[in-house]
Symmetry: C2
């Protein structure tokens, strides 16, 4: 059981997340990012190749990073919202590796953090109104099983 | 004296770089990226806030990363071109820190690598047709003196 196992995401909530992304971050519109799915375990975003290609016809490294950040940010957003942890999410830093190029559409996939990490994060936020958490995500080609990019981000939630 | 001190960039060459970015990477068009200047020491790109803002009205972390990558990529591109080192530039990985938000337009600024690092890179490429180099860049707010983000990228040039 993880911190979100009691949460069910309706189609309306998925739509609300997509609306929020498009509203707040115009680059997500330019990139054509959509929310593919949000369930108890995994949050997945989709980005088409066409607006995001590079000189080699594969996904541009900046688009891959942005897709990975948006997946991690979205995961953190829906989970803090679901637990009534109101605050602003800010990214402090990120690192990414690109083991493989993506020659088609890309998926940004974020898995939950560990229960322990979440509990620490939630407790610190409740006590201090500010807390830091590491959230990782990967990018894969649509239909692919291998990680084309691995992202690790440091995020801060503050009131 | 660095590896580029004998190179003069004309307005036409600056325009050619901008055309190349816009042609090869459509996200650079969506971001409104332009080449501000290329001289013997520093390459500077500009990105307006409007298409790149986030939920806090500052530059989105993905846009900041993309601007930093494009500055580093551009620096490497003009320098390898100037030395007749024909090949494809691929990014292997990158890391970024965001010490400050940028509340207006952003500049992506890339300084030359050391002479030693360049010489190693050029020699390895000449010998093997493939070589790796670390290129760093920073992002600042337009008119600002402090680094809002610091990027370090690992790039590979291969024939």
């Amino acid at each position: 059981m993880n911190q979100r196992s009691d949460i069910t995401f309706t189609a309306a909530q998925v739509e609300a997340l997509e609306h929020r992304l498009h509203q707040d971050i115009p680059l997500s519109v330019a990139m054509g990012v959509t929310v593919r799915s949000v369930d108890a375990n995994v949050l997945t975003l989709h980005a088409p190749l066409a607006p995001n290609h590079n000189h080699k016809g594969t996904l541009f490294g900046g688009s891959v990073y942005s897709l990975a950040v948006l997946a991690a940010w979205s995961w953190l957003y829906v989970n803090t919202q679901a637990q009534g942890m109101d605050g602003h999410i800010v990214i402090q830093g990120g690192s990414i590796e690109y083991p493989l190029p993506v020659s088609g559409d890309g998926l940004g996939i974020c898995h939950p953090v560990t229960e322990e990490a979440w509990a620490r994060f939630a407790q610190t936020f409740a006590r201090r109104g500010k807390a830091r958490i590491n959230v990782s995500s990967v990018v894969r080609g649509e239909g692919g099983a291998a990680d084309a990019a691995r992202f690790a981000g440091v995020f801060v939630l503050h009131r």
